[in-house]
Symmetry: C2
Subunit: 403 residues, 2 copies
């Protein structure tokens, strides 16, 4: 009879991968069995997906085979889709089987939130999964090939309309202003015919950023041909484009992408967890309120900053820090130790604006611009690879190459 | 007053480019003004278009800027579309202007002939122009990206259906059997889900080839996953695919390409030339019957072999030989000399079956197979580049690189 407690980690995103890595390090096979469940046999860099969608990165750089990082000898890998968690029975129902757990880590990531904007679910693409971002890339190029071959085609088919001026939306625009001129050259299309338009309802894009940085980003993107429409509410998304503003103006586009909001995975609600705006507000030790053995991490969780009673920002950086606290707390539970409270260590945030431009803050709040920021962003990306898979993975998938 | 006779060359394909090159060599600026009219500012390798459509070649290798080969100081370059030739007035009407000529060379190339098959014009792509072949390439990849993102999608959307088992159709299949496995890997799709199907009405593909060569080609393509349906008549082309055979079987496909027939440019008919199956049967000196000063070359012409009273095959090799005879005969007309009769020097024909396979005959009728044939094919391609633009062009666009 096997009495080794079983830890089941759901989702191989930043939080799930890092939790699994840390559990492997903290616990021997005799102390706990570890199971990692993921839809695909690969982990992908969610924060790089906008580059896949724009077509500015080799897609293979964005994906990592899970078994290259997590040894199947130590961790049981199950590639399946989570359908529901039955907490009463300590069971996770998968599409093709079910798995009992003693300890559960829910790190299933985000789903796109369209805030009920009419037509958005039907007509817009989302920067949400690897597969969908490949489709966005192909969809964009197809518009160019098609326009070139049908001179009578509507010029607006070349327009790329991006809803939402948050982090993902703006980084995506940053890639598009580099990609689109290349497509124009490839298909002999005048650059000015292909519009790149960002629509944001709030008075300013990138609301959580310092105004100096926001100004810098706007100017950089506008100088390279993007239109930034701030304070512009999307009333409806149709097959043709967005209907915006009080005058219900139609902005036509061949490619429509919504980046304006995310929420937690819908499995949370289905499984009976209490939700606040689609996520679970977890305890300081990252457990779901009322559960001894269920941790919720990453984009599925609101983790509160006790200092100002507001949630920490839902970033990859935070998700990876959640993972460390979670793994330590599971070890504490197994050893009847004391659980620690999560504290976020802000290492700064840098947004890329294409390959050679960017802006953000680091460490002590110092502002970075331009090439320095772009390089810093790549260092941040590479640091994660190093933490995840050591120097080997860094060499294989890193953005800054030492040779 | 300018009394220098003006030679106008219509079309910058194999025949038009080579004629212009030879005229530049044979005639001084005092002897004749030379004008080259072409729709685009680039020449493209028509015989490489199937590689663009399959996505197996860098498209920039297929295109050559005309002004890199033909000096605008010697030749007036007009980038416009020919609408009609008014032979009575010795004028060519272009979309945006008109140009009078003293000597005219019509080398406007082919148009696709669907032989009246219902729906083919509406629903099939043609390997016809650079722009359209780029669209085919993008269309194919889009099917894969879309299928991957919509698992409920019909598997037949991955099928590529090629109508016509002639030279172009089979060379296209040869590229697809190399390209499709790569796309399957890129989008994590099982190879067997993506079908490549060739449909030919005649009892055998490649009817003008030696049966041994045909057998070799068939086996090579079938071994790499292509289906070859011979003796199968296409009754109709619909949005969904081909309806074939006596039982009206529907073969569904996401990509439909027709390669089954070509005819001469439709400007010929509009301009009052007498046509045989869409082309003009020219005199032995390559002039249109009844015209002292109009030459018709390449895919617009039937050039008869007096030995067996059948037309020579309409190949790039023949078109380039037409060019030399035509340029010599224009020089003869200017100098009141004797015009020469065209004779075709058959240097053999090699068909590629992908990058590393091929088959064909050379020089003395010797049969070639496999890598030797594939290499020979590249030598043939490179020879043309050398003839057209010398060692510089060969280095820039050639298929075999000396380093």
């Amino acid at each position: 009879m096997n009495t080794t407690p079983r830890i089941v980690v759901l989702g191989a995103g930043y939080a799930g991968m890092m939790t699994t890595k840390k559990l492997m390090k903290y616990l021997s096979p005799e102390e706990a069995e570890i199971v990692l469940v993921n839809k695909h046999n690969y982990h992908y860099q969610t924060t790089w997906l906008h580059e896949v969608a724009a077509g500015t990165i080799n897609q293979n750089q964005v994906r990592i085979m899970i078994r290259d990082i997590i040894s199947p000898n130590r961790v049981r890998l199950i590639y399946d889709t989570v359908e529901e968690i039955v907490t009463d029975e300590k069971i996770v129902k998968l599409e093709n089987s079910e798995i009992p757990y003693d300890y559960l880590v829910i790190s299933l990531g985000f789903e796109t939130n369209t805030f009920g904007i009419k037509g958005m679910d039907e007509h817009a693409f989302f920067i949400e999964s690897f597969d969908q971002c490949q489709l966005i890339r192909e969809h964009i190029e197809y518009q160019f090939a098609n326009y070139k071959n049908h001179p009578e085609a509507d010029e607006s088919s070349l327009t790329i309309l991006v809803g939402g001026g948050g982090f993902t939306g703006i980084e995506f625009i940053g890639e598009l202003v580099e990609r689109i001129p290349n497509l124009c050259r490839k298909y002999d299309i005048e650059r000015k015919k292909a519009k790149i338009i960002n629509v944001e309802a709030a008075p300013s894009i990138l609301p959580s950023f310092d105004p100096d940085l926001v100004q810098y980003a706007k100017k950089s993107l506008q100088d390279r041909g993007a239109e930034i429409m701030e304070g512009t509410r999307i009333q409806e998304c149709t097959e043709e484009g967005f209907i915006v503003g009080d005058n219900n103006e139609l902005i036509k586009a061949g490619t429509i992408v919504w980046t304006g909001g995310v929420t937690g995975n819908s499995v949370l609600g289905k499984s009976g967890f209490e939700l606040t705006k689609g996520k679970v507000t977890v305890n300081g030790d990252l457990r779901a309120p009322g559960y001894e053995n269920v941790f919720i991490l990453g984009d599925c969780a609101w983790v509160m900053n006790k200092e100002d009673n507001r949630p920490y920002p839902p970033t990859a950086q935070a998700a990876m820090q959640h993972a460390i606290t979670c793994a330590k707390n599971i070890r504490a539970l197994l050893h009847n130790g004391t659980l620690e409270e999560f504290t976020f260590h802000d290492k700064g945030t840098v947004a890329s604006l294409g390959v050679t431009d960017g802006m953000g803050t680091v460490f002590n709040g110092k502002k970075l611009y331009g090439k320095t920021a772009a390089a810093m962003k790549k260092v941040v990306d590479d640091r994660y690879l190093f933490l995840l898979g050591g120097p080997h993975l860094l060499l294989k998938k890193g953005k800054i190459r030492p040779f």
